[in-house]
């Protein structure tokens, strides 16, 4: 063993340790700490063990009921926007031009909604949908549709969903467009020779070649919509009633509205865990698809 032992290397790694400790580990441990305790103010804390977690996972309690309801709403929201944005994004990508100056124009128009901050998107739709001064709200009410997102649950949901579709379908479309562009021209020519219909071309060539980018699109859109806070909060504030209160809105209500730090900490840990698990599932599926591809290439 002629290895030179040089402990100086630790000093080089130290800054990273410090940054990570302060930015991630300490805050997380604070949350874990809170989740085990109860407080009645005055900076006095009492040990509560796993009490909050038990309550959280028991739907018959107030906390558990609210968590389950908001989780259900959130999952429903994510499924609806995925069901709309993914097919719509594919259709937009398919109908985009392949070359010429129109490509650049389409890309810019598509990218615009993605560049607008969440808060601003919420404000835009909040005003756009108002029945008294908003263009959409006013026009809808004027032509006889009773639309009011402040008082009607369904109207509120429709507004939040349409807003998300408007904001994020572009992302799916751009990803799909990139996937489509990578298909060699020979595939289309071969399909022509084989007499494939437009639908057959889509099913046999375009969709299989897009599956990787689609997986990424679904992952990004699911995670993002599952963590959604700003836009619905600005538009509906979680209402009417609790009808558009998603998990993160509920979390903020408990933590900052009621100042129940223990409950909020327990909720955010479970919330975090759910997101980690979903991420892990997607990641596994994606890397599996990747290794499968490598196997094929290895065979070649």
């Amino acid at each position: 063993m002629d290895k030179t032992i040089n402990q100086k290397a630790w000093f080089l790694v130290l800054p990273v340790f410090l940054v990570v400790a302060f930015s991630a580990v300490l805050p997380l441990m604070t949350v874990v700490n809170y989740s085990m305790q109860d407080t009645f103010g005055n900076n006095q804390f009492f040990w509560n063990g796993v009490g909050w977690f038990k309550e959280l996972l028991d739907p018959s309690t107030d906390l558990g009921g609210r968590f389950l309801a908001s989780l259900g709403r959130n999952l429903f929201f994510s499924l609806v926007i995925l069901a709309i944005e993914v097919p719509l994004g594919i259709v937009i990508a398919l109908s985009m031009p392949r070359q010429g100056w129109t490509v650049a124009a389409c890309l810019v128009i598509l990218a615009l909604p993605l560049l607008i901050p969440w808060n601003v998107v919420g404000t835009i739709w909040q005003i756009f949908g108002r029945p008294d001064i908003g263009l959409m709200g006013y026009v809808l009410n004027h032509i006889g549709i009773d639309y009011n997102y402040v008082s009607n649950d369904i109207d509120a949901w429709v507004t939040v969903i349409v807003m998300d579709v408007w904001h994020w379908t572009s992302l799916v479309a751009l990803l799909c467009y990139a996937g489509l562009k990578s298909i060699p021209e020979a595939y289309y020519q071969a399909a022509q020779i084989d007499g494939a219909s437009r639908w057959a071309v889509f099913k046999a060539i375009q969709l299989p070649k897009m599956n990787r980018v689609l997986l990424i699109a679904v992952l990004l859109r699911f995670m993002d919509s599952f963590m959604i806070y700003t836009e619905p909060f600005v538009v509906t504030g979680g209402g009417p009633g609790n009808s558009t209160t998603f998990v993160s809105i509920e979390l903020v209500k408990i933590a900052l509205g009621q100042f129940d730090l223990g409950k909020a900490a327990a909720l955010s840990l479970v919330y975090n865990l759910i997101i980690l698990i979903v991420c892990w599932i997607f990641y596994t599926v994606m890397t599996n698809a990747g290794t499968e591809r490598k196997h094929q290439e290895g065979a070649v």
Binding site: A190, I193, A196, Q296
Partner: protein, 361 residues
């Protein structure tokens, strides 16, 4: 199953108004007979793939017509043209099995299921794909994939022609040979018109009954391999076919004599009416020039090197400014680096502005 006629066909990627020199495919009129095995041979960029894509309908020609059995199909789309084409790189439908891949062209045309199964089984057998028919096509090797592409081209029994666009590029040499023989056998068995694009003369000459040589967007000669070898209609054909290619040497030709570098070489035919002002060259294949010991009356050349190809040796020589390859018979050596050249007069051709001139007997 059809005769294919090309009538004054031309294509320019820059549109019909572009100068004719820039056309990727210059006007061509020719006939492909039903059941023939054709090869389109030429260097990269000579327009052979353009011609192929025009026939299959991927490109609409700027000018002229294509007739299948006398019927004008120029405006028809690829789908309606009843033609099959195999591309340079394998195209595989990832989600399907090998069998489904083979069945795809038939399924799209609404062929009854029993008929599809029969054809797929037959093509699978002919291409040795039987063990893989139920396997996913994505997991196979590149040459198996290309076999599937070939199979999709051959699976339809009613096609006017099957077009191959350098289909064996991705296959390694050993298998290439096998697949080429297989294609030839399939051609006999299936009675299809096949057009095979390649830049490899061996591939063209072994596959085809008729080889069509293209150069710079023009069809310069079409004929049997023997015709191309013995009587190249264009200096390009002479040079491109054969290894080494034909010697093309500037000469002054008068009557039955050609004057090269001040020496006179006798010709078998008489050339009295050569076009005035044209660039006159003679062409002779290295196989028909022999190096011998220098002697008076023989053209004398400087030997640069001798290539030993095993069965045969070729001497690379220099004649003034021109280069000339010649057969070096067994036992030939040169002590001073020069050699006399003996020509076989019956195999000397005369070219005016690169085109073959027929002499008078």
């Amino acid at each position: 199953m059809a005769r294919i006629d090309l009538v004054d066909l031309a294509h320019s990627y820059g549109g019909n108004d572009a100068p004719q020199d820039s056309f990727a495919l210059k006007p061509v009129t020719m006939t492909w007979r039903q059941g023939g095995a054709y090869a389109l041979l030429g260097p990269s960029g000579c327009g052979k793939t353009t011609l192929l894509n025009v026939i299959s309908g991927i490109i609409t020609p700027s000018r002229g017509k294509i007739l299948f059995d006398g019927e004008d199909i120029t405006p028809l789309s690829t789908q309606k043209r009843n033609i099959a084409q195999v591309f340079q790189f394998p195209v595989i439908y990832d989600t399907m099995t090998v069998g489904q891949n083979l069945a795809f062209p038939l399924k799209n045309r609404g062929v009854p299921k029993a008929e599809i199964d029969k054809r797929v089984a037959e093509i699978g057998r002919l291409l040795d794909l039987e063990p893989y028919l139920n396997r996913k096509a994505t997991r196979l090797t590149a040459d198996a994939k290309q076999k599937i592409s070939l199979g999709r081209g051959l699976v339809r029994s009613d096609v006017a022609a099957v077009l191959f666009d350098e289909p064996l590029t991705v296959i390694d040499p050993e298998l290439k040979w096998q697949l080429r023989s297989k294609l030839k056998a399939l051609h006999r068995e299936l009675d299809l018109t096949m057009i095979y694009v390649t830049h490899d003369q061996t591939e063209a000459l072994t596959f085809a009954d008729t080889v069509v040589v293209m150069h710079d967007g023009r069809v310069v000669q079409s004929g049997t391999p023997a015709e191309l070898f013995d009587r190249p209609a264009h200096t390009f054909v002479g040079y491109f076919i054969g290894s080494p290619g034909m010697n093309i040497i500037p000469a002054e030709v008068r009557g039955r004599e050609a004057k090269i570098d001040g020496h006179v070489v006798g010709l078998n035919r008489s050339y009295d009416s050569l076009p005035a002002g044209a660039k006159i060259e003679i062409g002779v294949r290295p196989e028909f020039v022999e190096t011998v010991a220098p002697a008076p009356g023989l053209l004398s050349a400087k030997i640069e090197r001798i290539d030993d190809l095993g069965r045969i040796r070729f001497a690379r020589t220099r004649l003034g400014d021109a280069k000339l390859a010649a057969r070096a018979p067994a036992g030939f050596t040169s002590s001073d680096g020069t050699a006399g050249l003996k020509f076989d007069p019956s195999h000397i051709h005369v070219y005016a502005d690169s085109l073959l001139v027929e002499g008078a007997a």
